[in-house]
Protein backbone atom coordinates (compact mmCIF):
# COMPACT_ATOMS: atom_id res chain seq x y z
CA UNK A 1 0.00 0.00 0.00
CA UNK A 2 2.75 2.38 1.07
CA UNK A 3 4.90 1.56 -1.96
CA UNK A 4 1.92 2.06 -4.23
CA UNK A 5 1.15 5.41 -2.62
CA UNK A 6 4.74 6.60 -2.94
CA UNK A 7 4.84 5.43 -6.54
CA UNK A 8 1.61 7.35 -7.24
CA UNK A 9 3.07 10.47 -5.65
CA UNK A 10 6.22 10.16 -7.74
CA UNK A 11 4.17 9.74 -10.92
CA UNK A 12 2.06 12.79 -10.04
CA UNK A 13 5.11 14.89 -9.16
CA UNK A 14 6.76 13.91 -12.42
CA UNK A 15 3.55 14.57 -14.33
CA UNK A 16 3.24 18.02 -12.78
CA UNK A 17 6.86 18.96 -13.33
CA UNK A 18 7.07 17.45 -16.80
CA UNK A 19 4.44 19.89 -18.18
CA UNK A 20 6.88 22.72 -17.58
CA UNK A 21 9.75 20.72 -19.02
CA UNK A 22 7.92 19.81 -22.20
CA UNK A 23 7.46 23.43 -23.23
CA UNK A 24 11.21 23.95 -23.12
CA UNK A 25 11.94 20.85 -25.10
CA UNK A 26 12.83 21.32 -28.73
CA UNK A 27 11.51 19.03 -31.38
CA UNK A 28 12.40 19.31 -34.98
CA UNK A 29 10.51 17.34 -37.58
CA UNK A 30 13.13 17.08 -40.29
CA UNK A 31 16.71 18.35 -39.94
CA UNK A 32 16.90 18.61 -43.74
CA UNK A 33 14.86 21.83 -43.57
CA UNK A 34 17.87 23.46 -41.92
CA UNK A 35 19.96 22.63 -44.96
CA UNK A 36 17.25 23.86 -47.33
CA UNK A 37 16.98 27.23 -45.57
CA UNK A 38 20.75 27.65 -45.23
CA UNK A 39 21.44 26.75 -48.88
CA UNK A 40 18.75 29.17 -50.06
CA UNK A 41 20.21 31.93 -47.86
CA UNK A 42 23.73 31.16 -49.11
CA UNK A 43 22.65 31.49 -52.76
CA UNK A 44 20.69 34.66 -52.07
CA UNK A 45 23.59 36.32 -50.22
CA UNK A 46 25.99 35.38 -53.00
CA UNK A 47 23.66 36.88 -55.63
CA UNK A 48 23.22 39.95 -53.48
CA UNK A 49 26.98 40.44 -53.15
CA UNK A 50 27.53 39.90 -56.89
CA UNK A 51 24.87 42.45 -57.72
CA UNK A 52 25.94 45.03 -55.14
CA UNK A 53 29.72 44.83 -55.47
CA UNK A 54 30.52 42.76 -58.56
CA UNK A 55 34.15 41.62 -58.35
CA UNK A 56 35.11 44.10 -55.65
CA UNK A 57 33.38 42.70 -52.57
CA UNK A 58 34.81 44.36 -49.43
CA UNK A 59 37.24 41.97 -47.74
CA UNK A 60 35.43 41.97 -44.36
CA UNK A 61 32.18 40.93 -46.04
CA UNK A 62 33.96 38.38 -48.21
CA UNK A 63 35.53 36.81 -45.11
CA UNK A 64 32.16 36.57 -43.42
CA UNK A 65 30.62 35.04 -46.53
CA UNK A 66 33.41 32.43 -46.73
CA UNK A 67 32.81 31.47 -43.10
CA UNK A 68 29.06 31.28 -43.70
CA UNK A 69 29.51 29.17 -46.82
CA UNK A 70 31.84 26.82 -44.94
CA UNK A 71 29.24 26.49 -42.19
CA UNK A 72 26.65 25.48 -44.82
CA UNK A 73 29.05 22.88 -46.22
CA UNK A 74 29.70 21.60 -42.71
CA UNK A 75 25.93 21.47 -42.12
CA UNK A 76 25.58 19.34 -45.25
CA UNK A 77 28.38 17.06 -44.04
CA UNK A 78 26.80 16.75 -40.58
CA UNK A 79 23.51 15.46 -41.94
CA UNK A 80 21.94 12.98 -41.42
CA UNK A 81 24.04 11.56 -38.60
CA UNK A 82 25.11 14.48 -36.43
CA UNK A 83 21.98 16.57 -35.92
CA UNK A 84 23.47 18.48 -32.98
CA UNK A 85 26.39 19.66 -35.11
CA UNK A 86 24.02 20.43 -37.97
CA UNK A 87 21.99 22.74 -35.70
CA UNK A 88 25.14 24.54 -34.59
CA UNK A 89 26.28 24.93 -38.20
CA UNK A 90 22.86 26.24 -39.19
CA UNK A 91 22.85 28.90 -36.47
CA UNK A 92 26.43 29.89 -37.29
CA UNK A 93 25.68 30.21 -41.00
CA UNK A 94 22.43 32.14 -40.49
CA UNK A 95 24.01 34.54 -38.00
CA UNK A 96 26.84 35.24 -40.43
CA UNK A 97 24.45 35.77 -43.33
CA UNK A 98 22.38 38.04 -41.10
CA UNK A 99 25.48 40.07 -40.35
CA UNK A 100 26.38 40.28 -44.04
CA UNK A 101 22.90 41.42 -45.04
CA UNK A 102 23.03 44.14 -42.38
CA UNK A 103 26.47 45.24 -43.51
CA UNK A 104 25.47 45.38 -47.17
CA UNK A 105 22.44 47.46 -46.14
CA UNK A 106 24.61 50.01 -44.35
CA UNK A 107 26.90 50.18 -47.36
CA UNK A 108 24.01 50.94 -49.60
CA UNK A 109 21.36 52.66 -47.48
CA UNK A 110 19.18 54.67 -45.40
CA UNK A 111 17.63 54.58 -41.95
CA UNK A 112 15.66 51.76 -40.46
CA UNK A 113 11.90 52.06 -40.86
CA UNK A 114 9.05 49.97 -39.55
CA UNK A 115 6.30 48.81 -41.85
CA UNK A 116 4.02 51.51 -40.42
CA UNK A 117 6.54 54.24 -41.33
CA UNK A 118 6.96 53.14 -44.92
CA UNK A 119 5.75 56.01 -47.02
CA UNK A 120 5.25 54.12 -50.25
CA UNK A 121 1.89 52.50 -49.81
CA UNK A 122 1.58 48.91 -51.00
CA UNK A 123 -2.02 48.96 -52.19
CA UNK A 124 -2.08 45.27 -53.07
CA UNK A 125 -1.07 44.25 -49.53
CA UNK A 126 -3.55 46.72 -48.08
CA UNK A 127 -6.33 45.32 -50.24
CA UNK A 128 -5.40 41.74 -49.32
CA UNK A 129 -5.50 42.59 -45.62
CA UNK A 130 -8.88 44.27 -46.02
CA UNK A 131 -10.12 41.26 -47.94
CA UNK A 132 -9.08 38.94 -45.10
CA UNK A 133 -10.83 41.22 -42.62
CA UNK A 134 -13.94 41.33 -44.80
CA UNK A 135 -13.94 37.52 -45.23
CA UNK A 136 -13.94 37.17 -41.42
CA UNK A 137 -16.90 39.49 -41.10
CA UNK A 138 -18.66 37.83 -44.01
CA UNK A 139 -18.30 34.43 -42.39
CA UNK A 140 -19.71 35.74 -39.08
CA UNK A 141 -22.54 37.47 -40.93
CA UNK A 142 -23.46 34.30 -42.84
CA UNK A 143 -23.34 32.06 -39.77
CA UNK A 144 -25.67 34.38 -37.91
CA UNK A 145 -27.96 34.98 -40.89
CA UNK A 146 -27.76 38.73 -40.47
CA UNK A 147 -29.02 39.26 -44.01
CA UNK A 148 -26.53 42.10 -44.58
CA UNK A 149 -26.10 42.90 -48.28
CA UNK A 150 -22.47 42.30 -49.28
CA UNK A 151 -22.76 42.59 -53.06
CA UNK A 152 -21.61 46.22 -53.22
CA UNK A 153 -18.43 45.69 -51.25
CA UNK A 154 -17.54 42.55 -53.23
CA UNK A 155 -17.86 44.60 -56.40
CA UNK A 156 -15.60 47.26 -54.93
CA UNK A 157 -12.95 44.66 -54.12
CA UNK A 158 -12.98 43.49 -57.73
CA UNK A 159 -12.79 47.10 -58.96
CA UNK A 160 -9.84 47.93 -56.66
CA UNK A 161 -8.00 44.83 -57.88
CA UNK A 162 -8.52 45.87 -61.50
CA UNK A 163 -7.36 49.41 -60.76
CA UNK A 164 -4.20 48.18 -59.04
CA UNK A 165 -3.44 45.75 -61.86
CA UNK A 166 -3.84 48.49 -64.44
CA UNK A 167 -1.57 50.81 -62.43
CA UNK A 168 -4.31 53.33 -61.60
CA UNK A 169 -3.15 53.75 -58.01
CA UNK A 170 -4.93 57.02 -57.36
CA UNK A 171 -8.35 55.56 -58.16
CA UNK A 172 -7.45 52.33 -56.36
CA UNK A 173 -6.64 54.30 -53.18
CA UNK A 174 -10.06 55.99 -53.40
CA UNK A 175 -11.82 52.64 -53.84
CA UNK A 176 -9.90 51.23 -50.86
CA UNK A 177 -11.08 54.12 -48.69
CA UNK A 178 -14.64 53.40 -49.81
CA UNK A 179 -14.19 49.72 -48.91
CA UNK A 180 -12.87 50.69 -45.47
CA UNK A 181 -15.90 52.82 -44.64
CA UNK A 182 -18.24 50.09 -45.89
CA UNK A 183 -16.47 47.52 -43.70
CA UNK A 184 -16.95 49.77 -40.66
CA UNK A 185 -20.68 49.94 -41.29
CA UNK A 186 -20.88 46.17 -41.94
CA UNK A 187 -19.12 45.51 -38.63
CA UNK A 188 -21.53 47.86 -36.84
CA UNK A 189 -24.50 46.06 -38.38
CA UNK A 190 -23.17 42.66 -37.32
CA UNK A 191 -22.43 43.91 -33.82
CA UNK A 192 -25.95 45.33 -33.44
CA UNK A 193 -27.45 42.15 -34.79
CA UNK A 194 -25.37 39.85 -32.61
CA UNK A 195 -25.93 41.92 -29.48
CA UNK A 196 -29.69 41.49 -30.02
CA UNK A 197 -29.58 37.81 -30.84
CA UNK A 198 -27.02 37.12 -28.14
CA UNK A 199 -29.01 38.82 -25.42
CA UNK A 200 -30.27 35.47 -24.08
CA UNK A 201 -26.72 34.23 -23.78
CA UNK A 202 -25.59 37.39 -22.02
CA UNK A 203 -28.66 37.36 -19.76
CA UNK A 204 -27.99 33.79 -18.73
CA UNK A 205 -24.37 34.57 -18.07
CA UNK A 206 -25.20 37.80 -16.20
CA UNK A 207 -27.69 36.10 -13.87
CA UNK A 208 -25.18 33.36 -13.10
CA UNK A 209 -22.51 35.97 -12.44
CA UNK A 210 -24.83 38.01 -10.21
CA UNK A 211 -25.48 34.91 -8.12
CA UNK A 212 -21.74 34.41 -7.73
CA UNK A 213 -21.18 38.07 -6.90
CA UNK A 214 -23.99 38.00 -4.34
CA UNK A 215 -22.20 35.14 -2.56
CA UNK A 216 -19.05 37.25 -2.38
CA UNK A 217 -21.00 40.24 -1.06
CA UNK A 218 -22.62 38.07 1.63
CA UNK A 219 -19.20 37.09 2.93
CA UNK A 220 -17.81 40.63 2.87
CA UNK A 221 -17.29 42.79 5.92
CA UNK A 222 -20.46 44.95 6.26
CA UNK A 223 -18.32 47.95 7.21
CA UNK A 224 -16.62 48.15 3.80
CA UNK A 225 -17.73 51.41 2.10
CA UNK A 226 -17.87 49.78 -1.36
CA UNK A 227 -20.43 47.20 -0.24
CA UNK A 228 -23.41 49.54 -0.47
CA UNK A 229 -22.44 50.67 -3.97
CA UNK A 230 -21.96 47.05 -5.06
CA UNK A 231 -25.41 46.03 -3.76
CA UNK A 232 -26.95 48.98 -5.53
CA UNK A 233 -25.22 48.04 -8.83
CA UNK A 234 -26.44 44.43 -8.50
CA UNK A 235 -30.03 45.69 -8.22
CA UNK A 236 -29.56 48.07 -11.14
CA UNK A 237 -28.18 45.28 -13.33
CA UNK A 238 -31.06 42.98 -12.41
CA UNK A 239 -33.51 45.70 -13.41
CA UNK A 240 -31.69 46.46 -16.67
CA UNK A 241 -31.64 42.77 -17.60
CA UNK A 242 -35.34 42.38 -16.86
CA UNK A 243 -35.95 45.39 -19.11
CA UNK A 244 -33.78 43.86 -21.88
CA UNK A 245 -31.31 46.74 -21.74
CA UNK A 246 -28.33 44.50 -22.26
CA UNK A 247 -25.74 47.05 -23.37
CA UNK A 248 -26.48 49.22 -20.30
CA UNK A 249 -26.25 46.14 -18.12
CA UNK A 250 -22.83 45.37 -19.64
CA UNK A 251 -21.56 48.83 -18.69
CA UNK A 252 -22.79 48.45 -15.13
CA UNK A 253 -21.15 45.03 -15.02
CA UNK A 254 -17.82 46.68 -15.78
CA UNK A 255 -18.28 49.05 -12.84
CA UNK A 256 -19.40 46.23 -10.55
CA UNK A 257 -16.40 44.07 -11.45
CA UNK A 258 -14.00 46.81 -10.40
CA UNK A 259 -15.70 47.13 -7.01
CA UNK A 260 -15.83 43.37 -6.54
CA UNK A 261 -12.07 43.20 -6.99
CA UNK A 262 -11.62 45.63 -4.10
CA UNK A 263 -14.10 43.73 -1.91
CA UNK A 264 -12.40 40.42 -2.69
CA UNK A 265 -9.09 41.83 -1.48
CA UNK A 266 -10.68 42.87 1.82
CA UNK A 267 -12.09 39.36 2.34
CA UNK A 268 -8.58 37.88 2.06
Amino acid sequence: MKTLAIFTILVLVFGTVSTSLVSDAYAQNDPNILLQIAEQADKQIKNQLDRSFGDSVPSDIENLYDQGHKAVESLEESLPDDVKQAREDFLTAMKLFQKISRMTSTYTTEAKVTASDASDRDLKSELNRLDKYFQNLKSISEKQNTGIELYKIQKLFALANEQIDSGDNQEAAKTIEEIKSLIVSIKKHIRDYSSNSASDRVKKFALKQLERIQNILDKANPKIPELEEANSLVKQIETLISEDKISDAKKKFGELNKIIKIIKKSIR
Binding site: M1, K2, Q28, I37, R51, E76, A118, Q144, F205
Partner: protein, 337 residues
Protein backbone atom coordinates in the same frame (compact mmCIF):
# COMPACT_ATOMS: atom_id res chain seq x y z
CA UNK B 1 30.91 20.96 30.02
CA UNK B 2 31.58 19.24 26.72
CA UNK B 3 28.89 16.63 26.42
CA UNK B 4 29.68 14.00 23.90
CA UNK B 5 27.67 14.32 20.75
CA UNK B 6 25.86 11.07 20.19
CA UNK B 7 24.18 10.38 16.89
CA UNK B 8 20.44 9.96 17.37
CA UNK B 9 20.34 6.51 15.86
CA UNK B 10 22.88 5.34 18.44
CA UNK B 11 21.01 6.61 21.48
CA UNK B 12 18.95 3.48 21.91
CA UNK B 13 20.97 0.36 21.75
CA UNK B 14 19.57 -2.73 20.17
CA UNK B 15 18.29 -5.48 22.36
CA UNK B 16 20.40 -8.50 23.05
CA UNK B 17 18.63 -10.56 20.47
CA UNK B 18 19.39 -7.86 17.89
CA UNK B 19 15.73 -7.11 17.12
CA UNK B 20 14.90 -3.61 16.00
CA UNK B 21 11.75 -2.13 17.53
CA UNK B 22 10.18 0.69 15.62
CA UNK B 23 7.51 3.06 16.88
CA UNK B 24 4.33 2.46 14.88
CA UNK B 25 2.37 5.68 15.61
CA UNK B 26 4.42 7.57 13.03
CA UNK B 27 3.70 5.04 10.33
CA UNK B 28 -0.01 5.03 11.13
CA UNK B 29 0.01 8.82 10.95
CA UNK B 30 1.82 8.73 7.64
CA UNK B 31 -0.53 6.08 6.25
CA UNK B 32 -3.50 8.22 7.18
CA UNK B 33 -1.89 11.25 5.56
CA UNK B 34 -0.79 9.50 2.37
CA UNK B 35 -4.27 9.25 0.81
CA UNK B 36 -4.77 12.93 1.62
CA UNK B 37 -1.43 13.73 0.07
CA UNK B 38 -2.26 11.69 -3.02
CA UNK B 39 -5.68 13.36 -3.31
CA UNK B 40 -4.17 16.82 -3.06
CA UNK B 41 -1.50 15.94 -5.63
CA UNK B 42 -4.22 14.73 -8.02
CA UNK B 43 -6.07 18.03 -7.57
CA UNK B 44 -2.88 20.02 -8.14
CA UNK B 45 -2.00 17.96 -11.20
CA UNK B 46 -5.51 18.40 -12.58
CA UNK B 47 -5.65 22.15 -11.95
CA UNK B 48 -2.17 23.03 -13.22
CA UNK B 49 -2.83 22.48 -16.93
CA UNK B 50 -6.14 24.37 -16.66
CA UNK B 51 -4.43 27.31 -14.96
CA UNK B 52 -1.61 27.39 -17.46
CA UNK B 53 -4.01 26.99 -20.38
CA UNK B 54 -6.06 30.10 -19.56
CA UNK B 55 -4.80 33.11 -21.41
CA UNK B 56 -2.20 31.14 -23.32
CA UNK B 57 -2.80 30.84 -27.05
CA UNK B 58 -3.94 27.47 -28.29
CA UNK B 59 -2.83 28.36 -31.78
CA UNK B 60 -0.92 31.31 -33.17
CA UNK B 61 -0.50 31.89 -36.90
CA UNK B 62 1.18 34.86 -38.51
CA UNK B 63 1.23 35.95 -42.14
CA UNK B 64 3.66 38.60 -43.36
CA UNK B 65 2.42 40.72 -46.28
CA UNK B 66 4.81 42.09 -48.91
CA UNK B 67 4.62 45.56 -47.34
CA UNK B 68 5.81 44.22 -43.99
CA UNK B 69 2.51 44.36 -42.14
CA UNK B 70 1.59 41.14 -40.39
CA UNK B 71 -1.72 39.36 -39.95
CA UNK B 72 -2.13 37.62 -36.61
CA UNK B 73 -4.72 34.92 -35.95
CA UNK B 74 -4.91 33.26 -32.59
CA UNK B 75 -7.20 30.99 -30.62
CA UNK B 76 -7.15 31.51 -26.85
CA UNK B 77 -8.66 29.65 -23.91
CA UNK B 78 -10.28 32.10 -21.53
CA UNK B 79 -11.99 31.86 -18.16
CA UNK B 80 -15.72 31.40 -18.84
CA UNK B 81 -16.57 32.95 -15.47
CA UNK B 82 -15.27 36.40 -16.33
CA UNK B 83 -16.98 39.10 -18.35
CA UNK B 84 -13.91 40.23 -20.23
CA UNK B 85 -10.40 39.25 -21.20
CA UNK B 86 -7.41 41.50 -21.62
CA UNK B 87 -5.33 40.41 -24.58
CA UNK B 88 -1.74 41.57 -24.93
CA UNK B 89 -1.25 42.60 -28.53
CA UNK B 90 2.17 42.38 -30.20
CA UNK B 91 2.31 46.16 -30.68
CA UNK B 92 0.21 49.29 -30.75
CA UNK B 93 -0.37 49.93 -34.45
CA UNK B 94 -3.35 47.66 -34.89
CA UNK B 95 -5.88 47.43 -37.70
CA UNK B 96 -8.85 45.25 -38.53
CA UNK B 97 -9.24 43.57 -35.16
CA UNK B 98 -11.97 40.93 -34.97
CA UNK B 99 -12.73 38.86 -31.88
CA UNK B 100 -15.17 36.00 -32.15
CA UNK B 101 -16.52 33.91 -29.30
CA UNK B 102 -18.04 30.47 -29.26
CA UNK B 103 -20.98 30.04 -31.65
CA UNK B 104 -19.39 32.72 -33.87
CA UNK B 105 -20.57 35.71 -31.89
CA UNK B 106 -18.75 38.92 -32.71
CA UNK B 107 -17.33 40.12 -29.40
CA UNK B 108 -17.00 43.77 -28.41
CA UNK B 109 -13.39 44.94 -28.21
CA UNK B 110 -11.66 48.02 -26.96
CA UNK B 111 -8.03 48.56 -28.03
CA UNK B 112 -5.95 50.55 -25.55
CA UNK B 113 -2.30 50.92 -26.56
CA UNK B 114 -0.88 47.44 -26.94
CA UNK B 115 -3.71 45.58 -25.29
CA UNK B 116 -7.30 44.84 -26.20
CA UNK B 117 -10.15 44.40 -23.76
CA UNK B 118 -12.49 41.76 -25.14
CA UNK B 119 -15.95 41.20 -23.70
CA UNK B 120 -16.02 37.45 -23.53
CA UNK B 121 -19.24 37.02 -21.50
CA UNK B 122 -18.97 33.36 -20.69
CA UNK B 123 -17.00 32.17 -23.73
CA UNK B 124 -14.33 29.62 -22.94
CA UNK B 125 -12.52 29.99 -26.28
CA UNK B 126 -12.06 33.13 -28.33
CA UNK B 127 -10.66 33.64 -31.82
CA UNK B 128 -8.87 36.90 -32.47
CA UNK B 129 -7.49 38.24 -35.74
CA UNK B 130 -5.78 41.54 -36.42
CA UNK B 131 -3.17 43.26 -38.57
CA UNK B 132 -0.11 44.78 -36.99
CA UNK B 133 2.61 47.02 -38.39
CA UNK B 134 5.17 46.74 -35.57
CA UNK B 135 6.68 43.32 -36.14
CA UNK B 136 8.63 43.93 -39.34
CA UNK B 137 11.17 46.66 -39.96
CA UNK B 138 13.19 47.40 -43.07
CA UNK B 139 16.72 48.58 -43.51
CA UNK B 140 17.84 48.94 -47.07
CA UNK B 141 16.72 45.79 -48.80
CA UNK B 142 16.69 43.71 -45.62
CA UNK B 143 13.41 43.10 -43.83
CA UNK B 144 13.55 42.00 -40.21
CA UNK B 145 10.77 40.22 -38.40
CA UNK B 146 11.11 40.13 -34.61
CA UNK B 147 8.76 38.80 -31.96
CA UNK B 148 8.77 37.50 -28.41
CA UNK B 149 6.22 34.77 -28.98
CA UNK B 150 4.14 33.48 -26.06
CA UNK B 151 3.80 30.05 -27.69
CA UNK B 152 4.96 28.06 -30.69
CA UNK B 153 3.67 29.65 -33.87
CA UNK B 154 3.62 29.46 -37.65
CA UNK B 155 4.96 32.25 -39.83
CA UNK B 156 4.10 32.54 -43.52
CA UNK B 157 6.50 34.66 -45.55
CA UNK B 158 5.56 36.68 -48.63
CA UNK B 159 6.06 35.23 -52.10
CA UNK B 160 9.59 35.53 -53.54
CA UNK B 161 11.10 36.24 -50.14
CA UNK B 162 14.26 34.44 -49.08
CA UNK B 163 15.34 34.04 -45.47
CA UNK B 164 18.90 35.31 -45.07
CA UNK B 165 19.34 35.22 -41.32
CA UNK B 166 17.68 33.90 -38.20
CA UNK B 167 18.50 33.64 -34.54
CA UNK B 168 16.69 30.41 -33.70
CA UNK B 169 16.02 26.98 -35.09
CA UNK B 170 12.79 26.33 -36.96
CA UNK B 171 10.68 23.35 -35.91
CA UNK B 172 9.31 22.79 -39.38
CA UNK B 173 9.03 24.29 -42.83
CA UNK B 174 6.31 23.96 -45.47
CA UNK B 175 5.71 25.49 -48.85
CA UNK B 176 2.20 26.90 -49.21
CA UNK B 177 1.32 28.47 -52.59
CA UNK B 178 5.02 29.12 -53.32
CA UNK B 179 5.46 30.78 -49.94
CA UNK B 180 7.66 29.52 -47.11
CA UNK B 181 5.89 28.75 -43.86
CA UNK B 182 8.05 28.16 -40.79
CA UNK B 183 6.92 26.70 -37.50
CA UNK B 184 8.90 28.33 -34.70
CA UNK B 185 9.27 27.90 -30.97
CA UNK B 186 8.08 30.35 -28.33
CA UNK B 187 10.44 33.06 -27.13
CA UNK B 188 12.52 35.69 -28.90
CA UNK B 189 12.78 35.24 -32.64
CA UNK B 190 14.47 37.44 -35.20
CA UNK B 191 14.42 36.59 -38.90
CA UNK B 192 15.88 38.57 -41.79
CA UNK B 193 14.57 38.18 -45.29
CA UNK B 194 15.05 39.70 -48.70
CA UNK B 195 12.90 39.77 -51.79
CA UNK B 196 14.68 37.94 -54.53
CA UNK B 197 14.82 39.90 -57.76
CA UNK B 198 13.87 38.18 -61.04
CA UNK B 199 17.61 37.64 -61.76
CA UNK B 200 18.28 35.82 -58.52
CA UNK B 201 15.10 33.79 -58.77
CA UNK B 202 16.28 32.65 -62.14
CA UNK B 203 19.68 31.75 -60.77
CA UNK B 204 18.22 29.93 -57.78
CA UNK B 205 15.77 27.89 -59.72
CA UNK B 206 17.66 27.90 -63.03
CA UNK B 207 14.52 28.80 -64.87
CA UNK B 208 14.45 30.69 -68.11
CA UNK B 209 11.09 31.96 -69.32
CA UNK B 210 11.44 31.07 -73.03
CA UNK B 211 11.86 27.40 -72.06
CA UNK B 212 8.24 27.33 -70.92
CA UNK B 213 7.07 28.55 -74.29
CA UNK B 214 9.32 26.15 -76.19
CA UNK B 215 8.12 23.20 -74.13
CA UNK B 216 4.52 24.30 -74.47
CA UNK B 217 4.88 24.50 -78.28
CA UNK B 218 6.60 21.10 -78.47
CA UNK B 219 3.96 19.61 -76.17
CA UNK B 220 1.20 21.15 -78.26
CA UNK B 221 2.65 19.83 -81.56
CA UNK B 222 3.10 16.33 -80.08
CA UNK B 223 -0.44 16.35 -78.65
CA UNK B 224 -1.91 17.55 -81.98
CA UNK B 225 0.03 14.89 -83.88
CA UNK B 226 -1.18 12.15 -81.53
CA UNK B 227 -4.82 13.33 -81.69
CA UNK B 228 -4.60 13.71 -85.49
CA UNK B 229 -3.15 10.22 -85.90
CA UNK B 230 -5.89 8.72 -83.72
CA UNK B 231 -8.59 10.58 -85.64
CA UNK B 232 -7.27 9.52 -89.05
CA UNK B 233 -6.80 5.94 -87.93
CA UNK B 234 -10.29 5.73 -86.50
CA UNK B 235 -11.79 7.16 -89.63
CA UNK B 236 -10.00 4.53 -91.71
CA UNK B 237 -11.07 1.86 -89.16
CA UNK B 238 -7.67 0.32 -89.12
CA UNK B 239 -6.19 -1.84 -86.41
CA UNK B 240 -5.33 0.31 -83.41
CA UNK B 241 -2.52 -1.84 -82.12
CA UNK B 242 0.37 -0.27 -84.08
CA UNK B 243 -0.90 3.20 -83.12
CA UNK B 244 -0.82 2.25 -79.45
CA UNK B 245 2.76 1.16 -79.88
CA UNK B 246 3.55 4.40 -81.64
CA UNK B 247 1.91 6.34 -78.83
CA UNK B 248 3.90 4.41 -76.27
CA UNK B 249 7.10 5.15 -78.16
CA UNK B 250 6.22 8.81 -78.23
CA UNK B 251 5.44 8.95 -74.55
CA UNK B 252 8.63 7.15 -73.64
CA UNK B 253 10.48 9.57 -75.82
CA UNK B 254 8.93 12.54 -74.06
CA UNK B 255 9.22 10.92 -70.64
CA UNK B 256 12.88 10.00 -70.90
CA UNK B 257 15.07 13.04 -70.53
CA UNK B 258 18.64 12.76 -71.68
CA UNK B 259 21.43 13.91 -69.41
CA UNK B 260 22.30 16.89 -71.60
CA UNK B 261 18.81 18.31 -71.17
CA UNK B 262 19.04 17.74 -67.43
CA UNK B 263 22.35 19.58 -67.23
CA UNK B 264 20.94 22.42 -69.31
CA UNK B 265 17.94 22.69 -67.01
CA UNK B 266 20.10 22.43 -63.90
CA UNK B 267 23.44 24.08 -64.68
CA UNK B 268 24.30 24.47 -60.97
CA UNK B 269 24.75 20.81 -60.14
CA UNK B 270 28.17 19.57 -59.09
CA UNK B 271 30.48 17.62 -61.39
CA UNK B 272 30.44 14.50 -59.18
CA UNK B 273 26.63 14.66 -59.10
CA UNK B 274 26.60 14.85 -62.91
CA UNK B 275 28.51 11.56 -63.02
CA UNK B 276 25.86 9.95 -60.83
CA UNK B 277 23.09 11.27 -63.10
CA UNK B 278 24.91 9.93 -66.18
CA UNK B 279 25.25 6.51 -64.57
CA UNK B 280 21.57 6.38 -63.60
CA UNK B 281 20.58 7.51 -67.09
CA UNK B 282 22.73 4.83 -68.74
CA UNK B 283 21.27 2.30 -66.35
CA UNK B 284 17.79 2.78 -67.82
CA UNK B 285 16.89 5.83 -65.72
CA UNK B 286 17.05 4.08 -62.35
CA UNK B 287 19.55 2.50 -59.97
CA UNK B 288 19.69 1.28 -56.40
CA UNK B 289 21.56 3.52 -53.98
CA UNK B 290 23.76 0.53 -53.07
CA UNK B 291 24.69 0.14 -56.75
CA UNK B 292 25.71 3.80 -56.85
CA UNK B 293 27.87 3.29 -53.77
CA UNK B 294 29.61 0.34 -55.38
CA UNK B 295 30.09 2.14 -58.69
CA UNK B 296 31.50 5.34 -57.21
CA UNK B 297 33.20 3.72 -54.19
CA UNK B 298 31.58 6.16 -51.83
CA UNK B 299 30.66 5.68 -48.17
CA UNK B 300 26.98 5.38 -47.30
CA UNK B 301 26.53 8.92 -45.90
CA UNK B 302 28.36 10.63 -48.76
CA UNK B 303 26.20 8.89 -51.33
CA UNK B 304 23.08 9.56 -49.27
CA UNK B 305 23.92 13.26 -49.25
CA UNK B 306 24.56 13.28 -53.01
CA UNK B 307 21.27 11.52 -53.70
CA UNK B 308 19.41 13.90 -51.36
CA UNK B 309 21.04 16.83 -53.14
CA UNK B 310 19.82 15.58 -56.49
CA UNK B 311 16.37 15.00 -55.04
CA UNK B 312 16.27 18.55 -53.72
CA UNK B 313 17.27 19.81 -57.14
CA UNK B 314 14.28 17.98 -58.57
CA UNK B 315 16.42 15.73 -60.79
CA UNK B 316 15.70 12.40 -59.21
CA UNK B 317 13.10 10.79 -57.00
CA UNK B 318 13.69 8.14 -54.35
CA UNK B 319 11.44 5.11 -53.93
CA UNK B 320 11.65 2.27 -51.45
CA UNK B 321 12.17 -1.15 -53.02
CA UNK B 322 12.74 -4.20 -50.84
CA UNK B 323 14.01 -1.98 -48.01
CA UNK B 324 16.45 -0.31 -50.39
CA UNK B 325 16.46 3.12 -51.95
CA UNK B 326 15.67 3.03 -55.65
CA UNK B 327 16.87 6.22 -57.30
CA UNK B 328 15.00 7.24 -60.46
CA UNK B 329 15.45 10.15 -62.84
CA UNK B 330 12.28 12.21 -62.71
CA UNK B 331 10.15 11.94 -65.83
CA UNK B 332 8.20 15.17 -65.43
CA UNK B 333 11.19 17.40 -64.84
CA UNK B 334 10.69 19.45 -67.97
CA UNK B 335 6.99 20.04 -67.28
CA UNK B 336 7.76 21.36 -63.83
CA UNK B 337 10.53 23.56 -65.09
Amino acid sequence: MNPEIVPIHRKESLGEDGMLFVRTEGIVDTMVKIPLLVASMIIVAAIMPIQSSFSSPRTLDLIIYPDGSTHVSTEIDVDPLTTDYELDLFGSTIDNLVAVGENDFLLDTDVLGDSALIETFGSSVIFVEYDIHDLVSKQGKVWTFSLNAPSDFTLLFPKNSVIVGMTGLPINMKIINDKNQLTLSSGDVEINYLFSTPDSTASINSISQPDYITYAIIGGVVATAVIGTIAITRSKQKNVKPIQNEQLDQTTQTETIDTETIFKLKPDIREDDKEIVKFISNNGGQALESELRKKFLQPRTTMWRAVKRLERNGIIEIEKKDLQNLVKIRKNMEEEE
